[in-house]
């Protein structure tokens, strides 16, 4: 197959490979091929890759450095200890990192709409979403995931949690649902860029901003803000609610215990409006003609 041996170039893609499979499988497959191509091109400059991967790691690690610096002055922040906040941070950081690794390139969509290069993607027999998502696939973003995993590991070692089977199951569950929720946010953000081509920063406010928000306990934020990220943009399901279940702490807004288990459901449900927004954005797209 073209994907494994000779290096997949677009002109090598046999149309038949994509034509007879379900669209989703087709998309994932295309994503893999394009991502591999970018991976090989990045690996041509290994030193540069190592530097930027380290940079990604260090840049995100600074957030946690800031938190530890805060804890050099206080024992608790909003009623939470450092290991507890580390758990919130680690879950959010890892989940966001995974979504960023897989879909982080989507904030470039606005630029593609502006300069007309999106047209090239439309004529290929491959789902556009997969192409945009895999465009300039950057393995260096693993640095962010690694950093999240390290902080999460630290939290899990240090925290004294009364583990139950449900709590154990909750850990992988919240990482995956969290990644899916952030992923939907990336897709919704990209859909928004069909309308506002210059507004990649708005998307960043929700993705990176959401990640930063979730790194801190809900107790320090205004009630309305917490309501907003629970019921409007369901970020609270990415880490706050499931992580607070693991920690055995009270939920914000007096929510009942079982909502923590809704995370996968919320993640799936959040993909519906995001996917619809993407479709309608793509349908409404008119090329600049350049």
């Amino acid at each position: 197959m073209a994907g494994t041996a000779g290096g997949p170039r677009p002109e090598d893609w046999p149309e038949a490979v994509f034509a007879q499979r379900p669209r989703f499988v087709e998309g994932v497959r295309a994503y893999g091929l394009i991502a591999m191509m970018w991976l090989r091109s990045t690996m041509a400059y290994r030193a540069s890759f190592a530097m930027t991967a380290f940079g990604n790691f260090a840049a995100t690690a600074f957030d946690f450095v800031a938190i530890t610096l805060m804890f050099s002055h206080v024992d608790r922040l909003g009623g939470y200890t450092l290991p507890e906040i580390a758990l919130l941070y680690g879950v959010s950081g890892t989940a966001f990192g995974l979504a960023d690794l897989l879909l982080g390139s989507m904030d470039r969509l606005g630029r593609r709409v502006r300069d007309g290069t999106l047209d090239t993607l439309l004529v290929r027999p491959v789902p556009v979403l997969a192409q945009v998502a895999a465009d300039r696939f950057a393995l260096r973003r693993l640095g962010r995931v690694l950093q999240g995993v390290l902080v999460l590991g630290y939290a899990l070692v240090v925290l004294d949690i009364a583990w139950t089977p449900l709590k154990v199951a909750m850990v992988p569950l919240m990482l995956l649902s969290g990644a899916a929720i952030f992923g939907a946010l990336f897709v919704a953000g990209a859909a928004f860029q069909f309308i506002a081509q210059d507004a990649a920063q708005v998307q960043n406010a929700f993705t990176y901003g959401g990640n930063t928000l979730l790194q801190y306990p809900p107790s320090i934020f205004a009630k309305d803000l917490v309501r907003g990220v629970t019921f409007v943009v369901p970020l609270a399901f990415a880490n706050w609610l499931p992580a607070l279940y693991v920690l055995g702490r009270e939920y914000p807004l007096d929510l009942p215990d079982w909502v923590a288990f809704l995370s996968p459901v919320v993640a799936v449900l959040f993909w519906l409006p995001a996917g619809l927004a993407w479709r309608s954005g793509l349908r409404a797209y008119r090329s600049t003609g350049s």
Partner: protein
């Protein structure tokens, strides 16, 4: 002199054309301003007077950070990418033929960019912040003026650092790694993460004398009236000293680098 004024005005206008991008940036700065402000409230609730700031001063710190983020290019994102690209492709040889000084040319442009970002990306987050939280705003026009001078000096220091980063492309060709390292240092040592007065022990002392503190920490302290009377001159001298030193180093590196270009034939 007129030439450089035109260059600065040109860059101002260039950035002013990206209206949607500016609005989107203002939105992002405001969102992050809120998130950080809440964390600072939680921190100062526990420890009032932490780092020598009271709550309203700490909140002013947050919003000034968002307002100055682009102006002082704490996270990079100014002329340097462009200059690195020109060095990589050899286009810089054309710039060297121009009857203008390379360093002053880019400095003028960067000042124009900073002026636009101060107005375009600075005012609105500051206004929103002052409506949502109780900020410590200077009551006298003199302090506002002193603050603007300090910001201007901060921009020059920021430029001088990024100019050196860009010049490194003469040797490294790929300037991305250096740009990222400089970006990280700027983020950490400017006080953007946390006021430098909260950094513990030696780390704090070192951070406060490094050039990056001119980008945010010093202007904010001027804004908060931490430099009364003649003290202000000390703050200015610190910033101007770093600006001059770094500009001079940039000039020396530039002359070495350009000789290299001539030898290589562009």
């Amino acid at each position: 002199m007129r030439l450089y004024a035109v260059v600065a005005a040109g860059q101002f206008r260039r950035y002013a054309t990206y209206r949607t991008a500016t609005a989107a940036g203002v939105f992002t700065n405001t969102v992050f301003g809120f998130i950080l402000a809440y964390t600072y409230v939680a921190l100062w609730d526990e420890r009032p007077q932490l780092g020598g700031y009271d709550m309203s001063q700490a909140l002013s710190y947050v919003w000034l950070g968002q307002a100055l983020l682009m102006t002082c290019s704490m996270m990079g994102g100014g002329f340097e990418d462009e200059l690195i690209e020109r060095i990589r492709t050899g286009d810089v040889a054309v710039d060297l033929y121009r009857p203008a000084d390379l360093q002053l040319w880019w400095l003028a442009g960067d000042l124009g960019r900073a002026a636009f970002h101060l107005l375009g990306r600075g005012i609105v987050p500051m206004l929103v912040g002052s409506l949502a939280f109780e900020l410590a705003l200077p009551s006298s026009a003199g302090i506002w003026l002193a603050f603007l001078v300090s910001v201007a000096l901060g921009v020059v220091v920021s430029f001088a650092i990024r100019y050196l980063v860009a010049l490194s492309a003469f040797w490294l060709l790929d300037g991305a790694g250096m740009a990222q390292m400089a970006w990280l240092a700027g983020m950490f040592f400017s006080g953007m993460l946390l006021p430098l007065t909260l950094f513990p022990g030696v780390l704090g002392e070192v951070a406060r004398v490094l050039p990056w503190s001119s980008l945010l920490q010093v202007p904010v302290d001027v804004f908060l009236g931490k430099y009364p009377g003649w003290e202000l001159l000390r703050a200015y001298a610190f910033q101007a000293g770093w600006a001059l030193a770094l500009l001079l180093v940039g000039r020396m590196v530039q002359s070495v680098a350009t000789r290299r270009v001539v030898v290589q034939g562009g």
